[in-house]
């Protein structure tokens, strides 16, 4: 049985196609999220990579903030449930999952079967999210991909504001004072690590700790977050697909439980 999970976030759209709830046939990503043509395009990409057509898919589960916009979806599942399930698939030892996406940050406690025991989300605010990093990267005149490398091994300049609006002013002031861009980037990473670390510690951190979402690709930030939490942080190479994989897995589980026939 083929199932497809699509994670439509605020900044990116991701798809995973799976067979039998165990084999990943394809993953695809587009840097265009809700309200763009990203979801449609990434769906076509994933089907092409998996060598199948929409008619071959037994069930589609949509997740992310755009899940309700996905007409083809058989199931619409919250991204916390999908990320939790995806993390368990990627690393079953995970007990604390930290997901920092474009729009928000989430901390999820999982049991040994990948079920959510507890969860927390940040407030409706860009602080400590991928959006914050994007804004800061723009101010530093680099892309989000270069940002991590820029901060690598640099001493962090203090960035006290976690608000994207105030931090932008603070970063411009630092640039005007001649602070190296690498130090500013490291300072920005540290401010996010402290913010997300605070959220995680409010819930309590149980190892093993995994990080997912696009921000997990920022190695310098992951390192700082690990130091804040006093824990090693696992980052799977499929960290951006955690939600889409979880959606595909849950689609498979739900379809199997409902006894629906395969196409």
């Amino acid at each position: 049985m083929l199932t497809l999970g699509i994670d439509i976030g605020s900044a990116t759209s991701k798809v995973a196609v799976m067979r039998g709830g165990t084999v990943v046939l394809a993953t695809a990503l587009r840097r265009a999220g809700i309200g763009s043509d990203g979801p449609g395009a990434v769906l076509r990409d994933a089907l092409r990579l998996a060598g199948c057509q929409m008619e071959d898919i037994a069930a589609v589960a949509a997740t992310g903030y755009g899940r309700n916009m996905m007409e083809e979806a058989d199931y619409r599942i919250s991204e916390l449930s999908c990320h939790g399930r995806g993390a368990h698939f990627l690393a079953p030892e995970t007990r604390t999952l930290i997901d920092v996406g474009g729009q928000d940050a989430k901390v999820i406690r999982l049991d040994g079967r990948g079920r959510i025991m507890e969860f927390m989300m940040n407030d409706k605010c860009a602080a400590g999210t991928g959006r914050f990093l994007e804004v800061m990267a723009q101010v530093l005149g680099c892309g989000i991909q270069e940002f991590s490398g820029l901060a690598e091994g640099q001493e962090a300049a203090p960035i006290s504001s976690t608000c994207a609006v105030f931090a932008e002013t603070e970063v411009i002031s630092r640039l005007a004072a001649g602070t190296p861009r690498g130090s500013i980037a490291a300072g920005i990473n540290l401010s996010i690590a402290k913010r997300v670390g605070g959220l995680a510690m409010r819930m309590g951190v149980v190892p093993a700790v995994m990080m997912s979402g696009g921000v997990a690709q920022n190695a310098s930030l992951v390192d700082m977050l690990g130091r804040e939490l006093g824990a090693d942080i696992l980052v799977a190479k499929e960290c951006q697909f955690c939600g889409a994989l979880g959606a595909a897995l849950l689609a498979w589980e739900k379809t199997r439980a409902s006894g629906r026939k395969e196409p």
């Binding site: 903030y65 919250s78 916390l80 079920r115 969860f119 989300m121």
Partner: protein, 374 residues
Amino acid sequence: MLNDALQKLEETARSPKRAMEAYRQAGRPVAGCIPEYTPEVMVHAAGFIPFGLWGGETTIMLADSYIPTFACSLVRSCAEYGLNGTYRGLSFIIAPILCDALKGCVQTFRVAVKDPPVLPFSLPQNRTLPSAAAFTAQEYRALGEKIQKLTGAGISGQAMRRSIRIYNEHSRAMRDFDRAAAEHTDVIGARARQAVFKSAWFMEKEEHTGLVRQITRALEERPACRKNPARVVLTGVSAGSAALMELLEEEGFDVVGDHVYQDSWTYLHPIREDLEDPVMALAEHWIQVGGSCVAHERRRSRSAAVLKLAKEREAGAVVLCLMKFCDPEEYEAPLMLAELKKSCPTLTLDIDQNSDNLEQLRTKIQTFRDVLDS
């Protein structure tokens, strides 16, 4: 009859301003009561229609000059409505000084809102002291004198006793509805339930009692029917908007009880009718308040009360509706959450009247449902 009465209450809950205008056009004077624990009975006894001022979903523009963004949305929107003239037409507003934000709200009205005038009063927090009831009664008498000085309307002992009877009858009707609604969630979903309680703040109590009695009778004639297996109780100052209740319904939750001041919690205890001094009876009503974040207790009783209610109503989970930036409630929340979570799955939702972004709330509610189902 059930649908007619429900529709009337839903309309009132949706459009309080319209309800206020209707009373005024009928020549009935209306007085605003800022929550919580405002002695509506006195306003009623003085011949005014007490009208709950719960703020609302509005964009804050004028209030930003007086009240910071980190004050609760209830206080900020009340101040906004005062400043932009929405409350004009009320004869006066009475407001308790129960937290710093309310103090700021009263000061804003005094400085920048001349119409309607605001009459503040204090409620003592050391309620176990023998003098606490006497102090409260003194505050109420002073409030009565201010109302008389402002409007010429005196409050007689006889009128107070009559109003207490009317309010106790209303409380009984609300408690009966609350119990009946929990067993008829096929008819009384979260939205309808909230509308019945919310409308009570914007309607003359005698009329509201009649409509609620009609609904309860109609429910009792029907066989009990629980729509969803996921039964929850709510707790907080306010459980937010009808849109939030709709989200709970969409995710398959039955709301079967609450410890929410804006909803049923205010009706828990009757006011004593056997005391010679009705003002003292009203004061004692404040003294016996338990389980409230704005009424100090040596041993906090709120979480135990919520868990007891959940057990009685066979609810499997609790939803803490946490008024964002409400100092007393946010101060109590960590301890209370720890106590609740020991016994019952608990979800925390931020209540913010000034934000219409429900997507994060939907994600939390949907995930909580997944957690319960697993």
